[in-house]
């Protein structure tokens, strides 16, 4: 009886000693695991996006990158870089955007935050491109009209210079349509990319690429499939959602003038029946189109 108890005590003591040694180790491991888990989400996303294949067989062409001028005047300057670019527009866009994100040598000239990643990119048949960036683009960019405008401009102008197939650009953040980039710039619409719609740009950078097209035909379809959820709301014509139906189309407008003779339906909160202005004759119908 007493011997059995002594054995029991011995075992328990052993257990206590083992636990005293092992538990701190376990604790350390768990902390490490927790840290790894946090990193891995961002990392996994990066790994998903990284394999934008840079095929060495692609001809090296002169790609034009638009980065900031670097003297905080809010202007972009173009830099010509020799890159092996694919002739497939989607692949090519991914390549130039990743180069743009990777940034210039001079940090002062960055337009996009270094943490931001391009998650997916595709081009709709009507020439609207959809670029999906990671959240870092919205969270890490300096807030302000100038800085946000510079970021979007650098994206659209770089695409314009290198991918003539793209007419408009829709920017998503992590697969979602967002209202603003970082509090100022409107992302609900599309940005005009190719201002010369009729004549696709024939910049020297582009013209050399089609000739060298042993482009891996197997690689391009794989990459053109969007990796993240496709945005269901990407209106192809660039009309922002929530276009109000405006029920009263009863007033026929004699003037074919411009988009509408109908006042914009007021936002919630404004008094609807204001339609004021006894100014009966608008002498200067300063219509925009």
């Amino acid at each position: 009886m007493s011997r059995g108890l002594r054995w029991l005590i011995a075992f328990l003591c052993l257990g206590v000693i083992v636990a005293a040694i092992y538990l701190p180790i376990l604790r350390r491991r768990m902390k490490l695991a927790a840290k790894l888990q946090q990193q891995s989400a961002e990392q996994a996303r990066r790994e998903l996006t990284q394999p934008v294949p840079v095929n060495p067989a692609d001809a090296r062409v002169k790609a034009t990158m638009f980065w900031a001028s670097g003297n905080s005047d809010g202007l972009l300057t173009q830099t010509v870089a020799e890159l092996p670019l694919s002739s497939d527009p989607v692949l090519r866009s991914k390549q130039v955007l990743n180069t743009l994100l990777a940034g210039p040598v001079d940090v002062e000239r960055r337009t996009l935050p270094p943490d931001a990643a391009l998650l997916s990119f595709y081009i709709l048949p009507n020439g609207t491109a959809v670029a999906d960036f990671s959240e870092a683009l919205a969270t890490a960019i300096p807030s302000g009209i100038q800085s946000e405008q510079l970021a979007v401009d650098s994206i659209t102008r770089t695409l314009e210079a290198n991918v003539p197939q793209i007419q408009r650009l829709k920017i998503l953040i992590h697969g979602q349509e967002v209202e603003t980039l970082a509090g100022h710039l409107d992302l609900t619409g599309t940005f005009q990319v190719n201002t010369r719609e009729t004549a696709p740009v024939a910049s020297p950078a582009v013209s050399t690429s089609p000739s060298a097209s042993p482009a891996p035909s197997g690689a391009s379809p794989a990459s053109s499939t969007p990796t993240t959820a496709a945005p269901t709301s990407s209106a192809p014509t660039g009309v922002a959602p929530a276009a109000s139906p405006s029920p009263n189309a009863s007033t026929p407008s004699p003037k074919p003038a411009s988009p509408s003779d109908k006042p914009p339906t007021s936002p919630p909160g404004s008094k609807p029946n204001l339609s004021p202005a006894p100014q009966s004759t608008p002498t200067r119908p300063a219509d925009s189109n």
Partner: protein, 272 residues
């Protein structure tokens, strides 16, 4: 007798060992709990944005005269949204509120009625802010910002970039593109104010820039955004020193713009 005493001692020892083990086990469990919880906190900490807007009825003065009467001043951001933040702790949302007070005084000196989209540290939505201008008769809308980039000591005026032409077959303009008919007027106001600012603040551009500013898109009035550079200055006083010049340029600019304020035919003011 002896064995009995031994028994008791051993029993006590065993009890002690068991409780020690239990203590370790509970300690280990608590580690597990503490390592698993942090991943849940960020979601819970998501700020509740958009507190209810102020009551516009308190501020909306009845405008009886025609033409330009009211200037709606919009100190951007506020509440949980601090806007641009400098390393020195400068917050855009606080500074624009102070700027707005000075601009308001300057505008009132020129005889304009002034409405602020916010008067405290709250954050009305973009639509609520636009609605304050849209509800006014003969208003212009001026949104005030502090940039986080740009040459310190310069000021830039932005107008909404051209909205894509309306493809709605009915030819109606939806309210979320209410700025469309006002774009030429906004451009004129923006260029006027920017020209005055360029005289006071060297290094500023001479003409207003176009940008897809969300706040301006839903505003059915001539609308501009004025952005002052920048929150990177070490001392807030550097920005405060600019306030009188900015206020004066805006007030003078609006006064100069007033004669050319003619409502476009397809605006809410143009149709009976």
């Amino acid at each position: 007798m002896l064995t009995h005493a031994w028994d008791r001692r051993e029993f006590r020892l065993a009890l002690g060992a068991a409780s020690a083990l239990f203590a370790f086990a509970s300690l280990a469990f608590s580690f597990q709990v503490s390592t698993s919880t942090p991943s849940q906190t960020p979601a819970a900490a998501a700020p509740a944005a958009n507190p209810p807007a102020q009551n516009p009825a308190l501020q909306a003065p009845p405008a009886s005269r025609s033409g330009l009467n009211v200037v709606v001043l919009d100190p951007a951001h506020g509440g949980t949204d601090t806007g641009a933040r400098g390393t020195g702790g400068i917050r855009e949302s606080e500074i624009v509120l102070d700027f707005a007070a000075q601009v308001k005084r300057a505008l009132e000196g020129q005889g304009f009625q002034v409405v602020l989209t916010r008067q405290a540290n709250d954050n009305p939505s973009f639509d609520d802010r636009s609605a304050m201008a849209n509800a006014q008769l003969g208003a212009v809308f001026i949104s005030l910002h502090i940039a986080s980039t740009g040459l310190p000591g310069t000021v830039r005026v932005y107008v909404n970039s051209d909205l894509p032409t309306n493809t709605d077959p009915s030819g109606l303009i939806s309210w979320d593109r209410a700025q469309m008919p006002f774009q030429p007027l906004s451009r004129k106001l923006g260029d006027t104010v920017q020209g005055l600012l360029a005289q006071k603040f060297k290094g500023s551009p001479n003409n207003a820039q176009a940008a897809a500013v969300r706040q301006l898109r839903t505003t059915a009035a001539p609308a501009i955004a004025v952005e002052i550079s920048s929150v990177v200055v070490d001392d807030r006083a550097d920005l405060d020193r600019m306030a009188p010049g900015v206020a004066d340029a805006i007030a003078t600019g609006v006064a100069m713009f007033k004669p050319s304020y003619v409502l476009p035919s397809n605006s809410p003011g143009g149709t009976p």
